[in-house]
């Protein structure tokens, strides 16, 4: 069955933009742009933001939002850092630290899910509260300081490669694949889409939407933990307020990648495309000698363009074709 919606999915427009941009940059900048070192640079930067964008995507698809992604990643990171230092020489330090970080990420997710699904607070307000609370907890416990110097095996995640591919990119790829699998191939994933498009109807069709919402935020918290892991491994330090600019950018990436901000649609593939596009833009602007801040402007503009395109198409289509039923008189 031909799906007319496919043609209007922003993912396709995005792919075209990306190919054109790559061709243009390849032609004008040549090997300055298309070389292995640069691609590896992109590959190292991408997973950090990508993980947070994945954590943002699940709540967005369910019709919610998670403003606490960066704060959760940071508190998970701080927890792991604390455990690593407390158990320093022990061989169990790393596994215990990982478990503790995962626990913190999931716990914050459960609190988010509880406030949203059980208490009934709107997702923006609830996660605005937990974001502030969780960041505040980190700042209070560390007095705003950093915990740094981690054992070598952990740092490998942020700096090591496997057959030339950065390990954090592999970790991100696996996570993205898992999220895609959950969304596309499981009943839980189908329910997330259903809730995002019409929560009431889903509830009446016998789905316990509270469980699904709770699951979405716990999963989101778990992905934040992985994001926190990558961040601490890359910086060799953890802090309560790292990467705050990622919060709004992670929403930007998700929406740019075709995840509808009101929920119900969007795929991991679109998100990946948007991530690559943003990294290419940022790298190209850097090469051309523009400041990083211009990148923010271009990213913002890209988001406006992507949401403007379907709207333009709508308006043009409405102008060109006579309204169905027009001429038949008022009904």
């Amino acid at each position: 069955m031909a799906d007319p919606a496919v043609a209007s999915q922003p993912g396709n427009a995005l792919a075209i933009v990306l190919v054109v941009l790559l061709a243009f940059l390849g032609a004008t900048l040549g090997t300055r742009f298309l070389n292995l070192g640069l691609l590896q640079g992109i590959a190292f930067q991408l997973p950090e933001l990508g993980m947070l964008a994945l954590a943002m995507m699940l709540p967005l698809v369910s019709g919610g939002i998670n403003l606490a992604v960066v704060a959760t990643a940071n508190l998970s990171g701080l927890t792991m850092a604390f455990v690593l230092h407390a158990l320093a020489p022990s061989p169990f330090a790393i596994p215990v630290a990982l478990a503790a970080g995962a626990l913190v990420g999931c716990a914050i997710g459960a609190v988010n899910g509880g406030l949203i699904a059980l208490v009934g607070i709107s997702p923006i307000v609830a996660t605005l509260g937990t974001m502030t609370f969780v960041e505040g907890l980190g700042i209070g416990l560390t007095h705003g300081g950093v915990i740094s110097e981690f054992p070598a095996p952990l740092l490998l995640i942020g700096q090591g490669t496997l057959a030339g591919v950065p390990l954090d990119l592999i970790l991100f790829g696996l996570t993205a694949a898992a999220v895609a699998l959950v969304l596309q191939r499981t009943p839980f994933g189908r329910h997330i889409y259903l809730i995002g498009s019409n929560a009431e109807a889903t509830r009446f069709s016998g789905v316990d939407i509270r469980h699904v919402r709770l699951g979405v935020y716990v999963l989101s918290g778990a992905i934040c933990w992985l994001g926190g892991l990558i961040m601490m491994a890359r910086f060799n330090s953890a802090n309560a307020s790292y990467g705050q600019s990622y919060l709004l950018v992670s929403i930007l990436v998700a929406v740019l990648g075709g995840i509808h901000p009101d929920g119900g649609s969007g795929r991991v593939g679109g998100l990946l495309l948007a991530l690559v596009l943003l990294q290419v833009i940022s790298t190209a602007l850097n090469l051309l000698g523009f400041s990083n801040f211009l990148t923010m402007t271009v990213w913002g503009a890209a988001l406006i363009v992507v949401v403007l395109l379907p709207r333009l198409r709508q308006v043009i289509a409405a102008r060109l074709s006579p309204r169905p039923g027009a001429g038949a008189g008022p009904v």
Partner: protein
């Protein structure tokens, strides 16, 4: 009259007022400095910009929208105004006028984007926040402006009052602007047809449209007003800081949102008022000030703010649910 009191007794504002008075009482007893005029006026000065932003955001929220790009609007208006001031000179009137006009222009454009794109306003304003802030830093290279004229940096106090010979406080330009802005916002919301339309739009957009409300005009108005106030907040912030830093305001947008939500506004639109926003601001200022005065490390300030947001929004939801349940039982005729 009794109904009025009964409604107030159940309202969000009443709970907030009790909380503000209670926290104020505890702080007044526990610390000698809290209830001094000097401390209170200092508090007003440092929270004035947040209050001015909050008044604008309140209007946007009541109309059913949201704006988080106002800090970038303020930063741009502030920077342009300060640059002009340094290059050409000026006076209070011109400073406020330029900044307010620039802010209102950016705000109106934001409103136009929100209206035409038909995407949730938070997405649009995330995009504009990034664009505006990026342009500002790109053009200015992040350079501070320090060489503001003396009349501007020294002219913050309008009326100087001596509390005791060694402690003076003053009614500052910040306090005066905050008072004027809050009063104006209250008048717009409570005593104008535009205000009623804003509540109507936020309460039920479709009904408002069918009643012939010009939604484009309202969108331009509320986002333009938000921008106007952002420009004004930029000026009083620069006066307080004695300098202009392009990045100083960015990142505070969610704090302002927290204040307005704490004050009883809702992201669903249609509810909220200036009195609630004042109380929300007062409670937050009291709590953060209290931490410092009680000698608890200010590192715990954010945790406190987060707790307040969670508790107050949870209480508001549970309160509404209880009210709805009461309304249901009232309707059902008693049996037997």
């Amino acid at each position: 009259m009794r109904d009025l009191f009964r409604n107030f007794g159940r309202s969000h504002e009443a709970f907030l007022l009790i909380a503000v008075v209670l926290v104020g009482f505890i702080l007044a007893v526990a610390t000698p400095t809290f209830l001094s005029w000097r401390n209170l006026f200092n508090l007003i000065d440092s929270y004035a910009a947040t209050g001015v932003f909050g008044a604008g955001l309140l209007l946007v929220l009541i109309a059913g929208g949201i704006d988080i790009s106002f800090t970038a609007t303020a930063a741009i208006s502030q920077y342009l105004t300060a640059s002009l001031l340094v290059a050409r000179g000026g006076d209070w009137v011109s400073v406020f006028a330029v900044s307010a006009v620039v802010g209102a222009a950016i705000g109106t454009l934001t409103g136009l984007l929100v209206h035409t794109l038909r995407v949730s306003a938070i997405i649009v304003t995330i995009a504009t926040l990034n664009m505006l802030y990026g342009v500002l830093i790109f053009v200015t290279n992040g350079a501070y402006i320090y060489d503001l004229p003396d009349w501007f940096t020294d002219g913050g106090s309008l009326v100087e009052i001596a509390d005791t010979p060694d402690s003076t406080y003053s009614i500052s330009i910040q306090a005066a602007v905050l008072a004027v802005v809050l009063a104006a916002t209250a008048v717009i919301l409570r005593h104008s047809s535009v205000g009623r339309q804003i509540y109507g739009l936020g309460g039920n957009a479709e009904a408002a449209r069918r009643l012939g409300v010009n939604i484009l005009r309202l969108h331009l108005l509320v986002y333009g007003y938000m921008g106007l106030l952002a420009g004004i907040a930029g000026v009083i912030e620069a006066q307080l800081a004695h300098s202009v830093a392009p990045a100083a305001l960015i990142g505070t947008e969610l704090d302002v949102l927290a204040v307005v939500l704490l004050g009883g506004a809702s992201l669903a639109g249609g509810v909220g008022g200036v009195f609630g926003t004042i109380l929300g601001l007062a409670l937050l200022a009291e709590l953060q000030n209290g931490l410092v005065l009680l000698g608890i490390s200010s590192y715990w300030s954010r945790l406190l703010v987060g707790s307040v947001i969670i508790v107050s929004s949870g209480a508001a939801v549970l309160g509404r649910r209880a009210q709805a349940a009461r309304a249901r039982t009232d309707k059902v005729p008693a049996r037997g």
